[in-house]
């Protein structure tokens, strides 16, 4: 049986993993390769590395880092953050990334999804959508949630799938950082309307939230950052708990 996936997400700045608290007081905490390998050893099913570096120099560092991750990690990983050119994507895939996630760039230039799928295959293309619910309507945001767009979540998600996305990573901005649980209603609707797998992000606070996201939310994978980084929940604990609740997980 296909297992539900647990995906720790690591933010990387200038080649170091950082723990951000509301984007302030960012602290560099260690080598992403070592942290990634430690998560893999604990039983993480995949990893996401988000490059939060803005500078051009930092970009080159990130490509070198992706190569070191690929050399050392024996599970799949996705890279994302600020990617806008086909040449960036090519460099990341050549370095050994299994998937590349696009967010703002896909909204600004949706044709990039088609080009990416055509050049590299659908399975490389993860479309990340940050969306906020206001008055019952879900709107996609870009630039790390700072700028609203005219894209409605479900319409945009279907368009992304039609254009060749292989997977959707949905972050609810209403839930992100709250630790009150995932946006299960919106996730279930995405799962029903799309044929591609859906990764849930935003709101994980305890192990029951993961039970909910895989049952009520019908998600294929659950992503979280701080609860894993701060050891509030460990991956083995979470997987044992999910298994007790009859949710298929990999050991």
């Amino acid at each position: 049986m296909l297992a539900k996936r647990i995906i720790p997400c690591l933010d990387v700045r200038n080649g170091q993993t950082v723990k951000g608290i509301n984007f302030v007081n960012i602290r560099e905490v260690g080598d992403p390769v070592e942290m990634g390998a430690a998560y893999a050893e604990q039983g993480a099913d995949e990893l996401v590395f988000l490059d939060i570096t803005a500078s051009h120099e930092g970009r080159k560092t990130f490509v070198d880092l992706v190569k070191r991750i690929a050399l050392n990690l024996n599970i799949p990983f996705t890279v994302g953050g600020g990617i806008s050119e086909l040449s960036d994507i090519e460099a990341l895939l050549a370095a050994g990334a299994d998937k590349v996630s696009l967010n703002s760039a896909a909204i600004r230039n949706p044709d990039l999804i088609n080009q990416m799928a055509l050049n590299f295959g659908n399975q490389f293309v993860v479309i990340a959508i940050d969306a906020r619910e206001e008055n019952g309507k879900w709107t996609a945001y870009i630039n790390g949630g700072r700028i609203s767009t005219d894209k409605e979540l479900f319409t945009w998600a279907r368009e992304a799938e039609d254009r060749g996305a292989g997977e959707l990573l949905f972050t609810s901005m209403n839930h992100d950082g709250t630790k009150n649980g995932f946006a299960c209603d919106a996730l279930a609707r995405l799962s029903d309307e799309l044929s591609i797998p859906v990764i849930a992000s935003g709101g994980a606070g305890n192990m029951d939230h993961f039970v909910d996201v895989f049952t009520k939310g019908k998600a294929d994978a659950g992503l979280a950052a701080s609860i894993f980084h701060f050891n509030e929940i460990t991956v083995p604990q979470l997987k044992n708990y999910l298994a007790e609740k009859n949710i298929p997980v990999r050991f």
Binding site: A70, S195, D220
Partner: protein, 199 residues
């Protein structure tokens, strides 16, 4: 030992080389015919689309090269599918080492638990029956990413369940192939690669 990883226009070929490096095994990523023919082991990896990839292989005569190899060969993912007789993806005639046919998973939106396509993630492999799976690999999880699958048949040496039962691995004569990615499948995957190298 001389190990060749066939280089062609497919994605993620380096990942196999990296996985072998983690095992302390050196391999050459190459499209050099002499090197491939004289290698002790040949790996045919790949992720991509069947018809354009077959066109590329034919143009380079790599299809004939692969069909004529006598040493152990391991196809991975698209490699497995291209070693089959035919694929529904672009209605492609493939290399034809395995007799099985490659079909597409159907995502039916009218069903309660809709099958997601691609089949992406970790799934358990069952009924393993080959030296490739030496070391208690029955029911272990492997990492899959694919929208097309080879049906089960007489070349099947491992099965996987996703809506239907399909071939997780195939074997005929000196040819082996896995639909999953051993290079990305944690410790069980590393063991499968090691088993292949030691065949």
């Amino acid at each position: 030992m001389k190990i060749a990883i066939i280089k062609y226009n497919a994605g993620n070929i380096m990942s196999v080389d990296y996985a072998l490096q983690r095992l302390g095994v050196k391999a050459e990523v190459t499209d050099d015919f002499d090197y491939i023919q004289s290698a002790d082991k040949v790996i045919f990896p790949g992720v991509g689309e069947a018809s354009t990839t077959m066109q590329y292989l034919r143009a380079k005569k790599l299809d004939q090269l692969i069909a004529g190899l006598k040493q152990p060969v391991l196809g991975i993912c698209l490699g497995l599918q291209l070693m089959c007789r035919r694929s529904e993806e672009g209605n492609t005639d493939c290399i034809g080492i395995f007799n099985e046919e490659v079909k597409k998973f159907i995502s039916d939106s009218s069903t309660e638990n809709r099958l997601k396509v691609p089949h992406m993630g970790w799934n358990s492999i069952r009924n393993v029956r080959s030296k490739l799976f030496a070391g208690d690999l029955e029911n272990q999880y492997a990492y899959f990413v694919h929208s097309f699958y080879a049906a089960t048949g007489k070349d099947t040496i491992a099965e996987c369940e996703y809506g239907i039962s399909f071939s997780a691995a195939l074997h005929r004569d000196n040819y082996y192939a896995t639909q999953f990615h051993p290079e990305k499948s944690g410790k069980p995957g590393a063991l499968i690669l090691k088993n292949f190298i030691e065949l």
